[in-house]
């Protein structure tokens, strides 16, 4: 693939005080590609997508969306930060799905989907409404347009959040552990929506702890640890032939704890699990 990648991340560094969160991350994501990011807690996976979306500023390196530098512009030979309005416009070209859904609690589901279309992308309210209803149907929540977020289950809220991010026709979708805050029996409905998006050719970065899903949906898989990309490759390379000892250790931990539950998610086992959790 020689075309300009949708997203290019180049040697990005980010620290919080003394803690180095990202230690020189580079990653290209091409049109239609689905990249899943796995790794232990604190490895910087979430920080990576938050930095790409410019919710966190980066300390070094560069990021490009469709070849356009994110967050800065060059001016008389120097780089300087973009004004807020331009950064907001760049964010508006990406879609973000959060672990905690973060639906706007004071608006109906419909308004959650229409507001940015109208206020950021200048669509007419009618067009925005049409688009919103179409997307709600696509995520299986056609009847919920007038509901308030608090009236929905976690899985439904997350599906609304996905629809909200899709409403503005993003060039790339970023998922920050979209199922980590969900009850186990609600995970599948959300993964189903993401799977359908992948099949539809959406460009995506998905940070997840669902190993079976990370393998199944990915074109390419990235393993991160201590703010670095340790290994990257096809799902088969990562999961079947891990070359670094750290990835092997990580996967063996998961095969004991998690992969069993994710892959063989038969109903009785899930019930058992819920029983144990109590």
């Amino acid at each position: 693939m020689n075309a300009t990648p949708v997203l290019r991340v180049q040697n990005v560094r980010k620290r919080f005080g003394d803690h180095v969160a990202l230690d020189g991350i580079s990653l290209d994501v091409h049109e239609g590609e689905v990249v899943t990011v796995i790794g232990p807690s604190g490895s910087g996976k979430s920080t990576l997508v938050r930095c790409v979306h410019q919710l966190e500023g980066i300390d070094g390196g560069a990021m490009y969306l469709d070849g356009e530098l994110l967050g800065h512009e060059s001016h008389r030979g120097h780089l300087r930060p973009l004004p807020d309005r331009r950064v907001a416009a760049q964010r508006g070209r990406m879609g973000m799905v959060f672990q905690q859904f973060n639906l706007f609690a004071h608006w109906s589901v419909l308004r959650n989907l229409t507001e940015a279309q109208v206020a950021v992308h200048g669509r007419t309210p009618e067009r925005a409404r049409e688009e919103a209803l179409r997307l709600l149907e696509r995520v299986g929540l056609a009847g919920k347009a007038d509901a308030h977020p608090r009236q929905l289950s976690g899985g439904q809220q997350q599906r609304v959040a996905i629809a909200r991010a899709l409403a503005t026709d993003p060039r790339i979708m970023l998922f920050d552990e979209p199922t980590s805050a969900l009850d186990p029996e609600l995970v599948d409905e959300v993964l189903g929506v993401v799977r359908a998006l992948a099949a539809g050719g959406m460009t995506m970065i998905i940070v997840t702890h669902e190993m079976a899903f990370a393998r199944e949906v990915a074109d390419r898989c990235v393993f991160m640890e201590h703010g670095r990309v340790v290994e990257t490759g096809t799902p088969e390379e990562i999961f079947d032939r891990p070359s670094s000892p750290r990835l092997r250790a990580f996967l063996s931990r998961f095969s004991q704890e998690r992969v069993a539950e994710g892959e063989a998610a038969s109903e009785p086992e899930k019930e058992l699990e819920k029983g144990n959790a109590r």
Binding site: H53, Q54, L55, D84, R85, A88, A89, R91, G92, R93, M94, G95, M96, F98, Q100, N102, L103, F104, A105, H106, W107, E115, A116, A119, V120, H121, H148, P149, R150, R164, A165, T168
Partner: protein
């Protein structure tokens, strides 16, 4: 254990002698108070009735309400700006807003009112122009600062300091994820604030603002010291002439209580309105 069926629905209420005693005490106190109010001639109830709807007193009441509404509106607007300033990432601005709140919350409103009223002594002329440069226009301070402007200025600046703290608490109570989501949707900082953060902060801001409105209404009585014709001042003007101090103070009390009661009902309505959509 299957003898005659036990059903707690047949139980009789418990005997509670202390409640009976407390009830009796309250009854006696209420009777005593009523007796005092009715039999003490110095209340001069007919005088109260005469003055309750007196045009001068109604004008005073109108002025008190006007001052409350104007100072509250200006104070809230300024308070929102101050709160946003205090939470700004630009430190000098945050610091300046903090200093404002500390100063104007720290000086008693009565002192501020007298101070603003006497501004002419400190600053004989108020002028408009380039700082340290040419002046375009100027007015004698005593022509600009009447008792009305001094009253509005004093009450507004004081109110703004309190509102800034209330609004700031409300803004901090909004979950950080809401701000993230707003930015993620491509809203600018101002759009996020106006569309997402402030409306959700209202749930936390409204209840203390209602109390603030009520204390401001009562606080307007302070402007009587700078000869502003509010409710208390109108009452004082009359009793200074007729010496019917108690009945006229009762007229003032009755109006303050009536307005506060109406405001409390309004506050409850607002709380219900802004509480929707929240857990």
């Amino acid at each position: 254990m299957s003898s005659p069926a036990v059903d707690v629905a047949d139980a009789r209420p418990r005997v509670r002698p202390l409640r009976w005693l407390a009830g009796a005490v309250l009854l006696v106190l209420a009777a005593q108070l009523a007796w005092f109010l009715v039999t003490n001639p110095r209340f001069e109830w007919p005088v109260v009735a005469d003055y309750l709807l007196d045009p001068n007193i109604l004008a005073g009441l109108g002025m008190s309400l006007l001052l409350t509404v104007v100072a509250m509106a200006l104070g809230s607007g300024l308070g929102v700006l101050l709160a946003a300033g205090r939470l700004s990432g630009f430190k000098p601005l945050a610091w300046a807003c903090g200093v404002y709140v500390a100063v104007f919350r720290g000086i008693p409103p009565l002192v501020q009112l007298i101070f603003w009223f006497n501004l002419g002594y400190l600053l004989p002329r108020i002028s408009l122009g380039v700082p340290f440069g040419p002046t375009f226009a100027s007015w004698p301070t005593n022509a600009v600062i009447s008792s009305l402007t001094a009253a509005i200025l004093g009450l507004t600046l004081h109110e703004a300091a309190y509102m800034a703290e209330i609004v700031r608490a409300g803004l901090l109570a909004v979950d950080g994820g809401q701000r993230d989501a707003a930015r993620a949707m491509g809203f600018t900082a101002r759009q996020s604030f106006v569309k997402v953060v402030l409306p959700q902060a209202m749930r936390v801001i409204i209840p203390p603002t209602g109390s603030q409105f009520i204390s401001l209404l009562k606080g307007t009585s302070l402007v009587s010291v700078i000869a502003m014709a509010d409710l208390l001042y109108s009452v004082q003007v009359i009793y200074n002439r007729t010496y019917q101090i108690v009945p006229l103070l009762i007229v003032a009390c009755a109006w303050y209580l009536a307005v506060v009661t109406v405001l409390s009902v309004g506050q409850r309505r607002l709380e219900r309105h802004f509480g929707k959509g929240q857990r």
